[in-house]
Amino acid sequence: MISGSALSAPSTAAPQAPTLYLPKDRRLRVLGTHVTLQEPLRQRAESDLGFAIEFAPGGSASVLHQASTRPESFDLYEQWSNSIKVLWQAGAITGIDKTRIRDWDQVNALTQTGRLTPGASIGRGDAPHRLLHVQPDGTLDSPTSDTISFLPYVHNADSFGYDADVVGEGKPYATESWGWLFDERYRGQVALINAPTIGLFDAALAAEASGVMRFGDIGAMTRGELDQLTTHLIALKRRGQFRGVWSSVPQSVDYMRTDGVAVESMFSPGASMLRGMGTRCIYAAPREGYRAWHGVMCLSAATKGPTAELAYAFMNWWLSGWPGAFIARQGYYISTPERSREHLSAAEWDYWYGGKPAATDLQNTSGEVAVSAGETRRGGSYEERFAHIAVWNTVMPTYEYSLIKWNEFLLA
């Protein structure tokens, strides 16, 4: 695939792969979080693409700040869709030429319409289709254009994790509820993610589930609603409801494994890691619906020329199949699932996407058995899970105010 200083796209690419003229320093810098910046992916990408790739994973908050203020420090940025507005508004990222995305026709409806199946709830807040296309006026919205603000790829329906040995095992979509975060029974055993664009929604869903308050639009909270929610959070904090807030997946794992947390905002890998360590962590299917997120791969506004070519090659690689199969084994979905299906066994596909009982023991990306035969993914199939979306991670119009209120909560 590599010829002299030229690099062609993988063989599974579209028939006419462009020839890439690589810079002398063939290095692609990817900034993001541990969710997708995993060493096996980097090695495989380097092997497949033939150029050096540098991953710079960090905490969500710090990498977002770095990306929004220093676009010259990265070429590609990987995070979730709620970061798009911050970055786009900051001018830290630039549009992506959709026509250069080889498998764009394979990208499923979720990203483009907000729902996988007719009649499924789209969910409040920054659903990906509302941010995807760059409009002529420079805003981001759903009407189709040739320029997109991010490459749609990894996504998931998140909720909270709970220690079944402490809480007891609930029933998906029936008894499992966001309200547990505010439940007095778990006083001192609750943690939230330290990101207002995520944690606030967990708190808001918990507030609604526990009947404390109702929101006009949970994806676009008003200042009054933020005041009320913050007041309640502070009251809970002062009553000792929260163990703390976490900033990274390993920290969330430590919270439940060693710090006595029983219910917390969580990402899917955290729950998997805990189960691998012997903690009966259940990744809940809340009856109020999930807090969904969509991974976004953004092109730095500072990345031009040959390095941008490397960035496009890397983006195409991500949708080509193998990476989607890799992250499927960690519980994530990819926007081109049919391409990844070719790299998954039938049992894997049926379990991870089909919501069917595992026909055999299934291994995770480390080669360990992560799913025992007969086990069924909590929340059901891909379609079913994304039919229960309550809200998407969102940067609300009241973003600055939410930062101030969140700060009040943290300092209280």
Partner: protein, 615 residues
């Protein structure tokens, strides 16, 4: 234990008590050491807890400085925050030295990480705050001035009043949006400014208008950067650093909890130690007292009791009492040695007593011997007197007759003198017989002393046969009445006794006239000895003479042919043969009975308590 010496027992007792005392001392020393350790741990804990508390305070102060800096942008507050972070790092180094506990180290490590994140974010936040400060205080006033200059210059342009009016209005709105944002951040203000700028760029027609719009676009970009910087430091300070501060405070609290968690253990340990020391000291003291009491009692009992018994025994021995045994001789200790000595004393006492008894017996024997000797002397005197008297009589008679015969021969009366020879001869014969019987008496007890079982009946028959001529001449019939026993005696001497008694009966036991009989009869004796009686029919012997008849030369009648030696021989024979003789008679003419008592023949005889079979 009586096998253990008293000295060892005393040493053992002292050693035990001393061991208990040493044990108590060791307990005390160990307890003091433990108490000292606890106190040291407590002091370290205190220092640690204070350090942790100070950590929490420092973090609170740090967060306050950072918040103030975020709010005001004053550099001094940023410097203050940086210095506080350095102080905190030093405190962590101190915390490392204070506690090597793994949990604490882990928490300190997490706090260090948290502080490091905090510090990194602080630097970025400070940079962003400075950028905003620079933009707001340098760039924005400069742009404001340029825009105002351009707008002022074009105020007089004819035909462009409406566009300029719009530009002026929008310019003011864009700039007021920025200042409003600085007062209260809201992205909607920037969005509106961007929208206005976009609209103006399409509106501008002249170079001047485009220059102003370009300045406004520049202004909006600056506004965007200000929003970016504001969001940046708000996010860093308000979210990232505040989260780290929360985590830091939580970890600090846990550190305090971990540190204080040791307090109850140490306090409990100290209380338990005090309890233990009190209990063990009391127990040890009680044990020591008890051991001392028991040991002293034991030693006293094992020493004084046997000594008391021994001393009482010695007192009794001193009094001369007979003591069967001395207590404590079986012991191998000092008391046993003393008891053995006392036992030797007791045995010496017993020997002395035995010797005294023997001495007394010997004295009695000597006394008896003396009396026997005196009696013998008397008898000897009597004997000498009697012998000299009885021997003198025939000698005097003979000498008288010899004188008479000499005188008669001198006067020529030879015939007459010869006729006196018969008298002379009888006197000499009598003297001869006296001498012969005396010799015989002297042989009794010296010759023919061997004793044997003798059939009395056969021997009586033999004697009767030997004396039959004389008995017949005297008209005496000897009747053996009943079955005579076997007796143990020298047969020759027994024969002599029977001959003397029967001869004596013929001489003195016959009635005044006619034939008579002498009976030999056996008699039962309560002692079980053999008794044979010789009974005559003579005049009898008055009781006053019963002993006298056995004396030498004693005859109850003056006439007769007896020498007065026969019964003396009989008694000497019986006595030297272990038997006896006595006489029973009233002396009133009803005869008399000589009672002979023998050792029964054919039976075991006792010699010194040992049974021997005779014969």
């Amino acid at each position: 234990m009586s096998g253990t010496s008293i000295a060892r027992r005393i040493y053992f007792g002292f050693a035990l008590v001393v061991a208990l005392a040493i044990g108590l001392a060791v307990v005390g020393v160990l307890a003091a050491g433990q108490a000292s350790d606890n106190a040291r741990r407590f002091r370290e804990l205190n220092e640690r807890t204070i350090a942790m508390l100070e950590l929490g305070t420092e973090v609170a102060e740090l967060q306050r400085s950072v918040q103030l800096f975020a709010s005001t942008g004053h550099e001094s507050l940023a410097t203050d925050a940086e210095q506080r972070i350095k102080k905190l790092r030093k405190r962590f180094d101190g915390a490392d030295a204070l506690d090597t506990n793994a949990d604490t180290q882990s928490l300190v490590q997490r706090m260090r990480t948290s502080l490091s994140n905090y510090e990194g974010s602080l630097q970025t936040a400070v940079d962003e705050r400075r950028i905003r400060f620079e933009l707001v205080h340098t760039q924005v006033p400069k742009l404001d001035a340029e825009i105002e200059t351009h707008i002022a210059k074009e105020e007089t342009n004819v035909g462009a009043e409406n566009r300029w009016a719009q530009i002026r209005t929008d310019s003011r709105l864009i700039r007021s949006n920025l200042y409003e944002y600085l007062y209260e951040p809201d992205y909607a203000l920037l969005a509106q400014s961007k929208q206005i700028t976009g609209r103006l760029s399409t509106l501008a027609e002249t170079d001047e208008e485009r220059a102003v719009v370009a300045l406004l676009e520049d202004y909006t970009r600056t506004f965007t950067r200000i929003v970016q910087a504001t969001r940046g430091y708000l996010y860093l300070v308000g979210v990232v650093m505040a989260g780290e501060a929360w985590e830091f405070n939580h970890l600090s609290g846990r550190l305090r909890t971990v540190a204080l968690a040791d307090v109850p253990e140490i306090v409990d340990g100290m209380e338990q130690l005090a309890d233990s020391v009190r209990r063990y000291t009391f127990l040890g003291a009680a044990l020591a007292v008890l051991a001392a009491l028991v040991l002293s009692g034991w030693i006293t009992r094992s020493i004084s009791s046997p000594l008391g018994k021994l001393s009482r025994t010695l007192a009794r021995l001193a009094k001369g009492e007979r003591v069967a045994n001395v207590p404590g001789v079986e012991r191998s200790d000092e008391v046993g040695v003393m008891a053995s000595a006392a036992d030797a004393f007791r045995r010496a006492n017993e020997r002395t007593e035995s010797l005294l008894t023997e001495s007394r017996a010997l004295a009695l024997e000597v006394q008896a011997s003396r009396r026997d000797l005196e009696r013998s002397n008397e008898e000897l005197e009597q004997f000498v007197y009697t012998v000299s008297h009885d021997l003198k009589t025939p000698l005097v008679t003979s000498l008288g007759f010899i004188g008479m015969m000499r005188e008669m021969a001198a006067v020529g009366q030879q015939d007459l003198a010869l006729s006196k020879l018969d008298v002379l001869e009888r006197s000499n014969k009598r003297m001869t017989r006296l001498i012969a019987e005396l010799l015989d008496l002297s042989r009794v007890g010296r010759l023919d002393t061997e004793r044997q079982d003798v059939d009395a009946a056969a021997l009586v028959d033999s004697v009767i046969e030997d004396l039959s001529a004389r008995l017949t001449d005297a008209g005496c019939a000897v009747v053996v009445d009943g079955e005579l026993p076997s007796v143990r005696i020298n047969e020759v001497r027994f024969r002599q006794v029977l001959e003397n008694l029967l001869t004596n009966a013929v001489k003195y036991g016959r009635p005044e006239a006619g034939v008579f009989e002498v009976r030999v009869v056996a008699r039962e004796a309560p002692s079980g000895r053999a008794v044979i009686c010789v009974v005559d029919q003579g005049p009898g012997i008055p009781p006053a003479h019963h002993e006298r008849v056995f004396g030498l030369f004693n005859r109850l009648s003056a006439g007769g042919e007896g020498t007065g030696i026969g019964l003396a021989i009989v008694r000497r024979v019986m006595e030297t043969s272990g038997g006896s003789i006595m006489v029973e008679s009233s002396g009133d003419g009803k005869g008399c009975t000589f009672v002979l008592e023998f050792e029964r023949g054919g039976q075991a005889e006792r010699i010194d308590g040992v049974v021997e079979q005779s014969g």
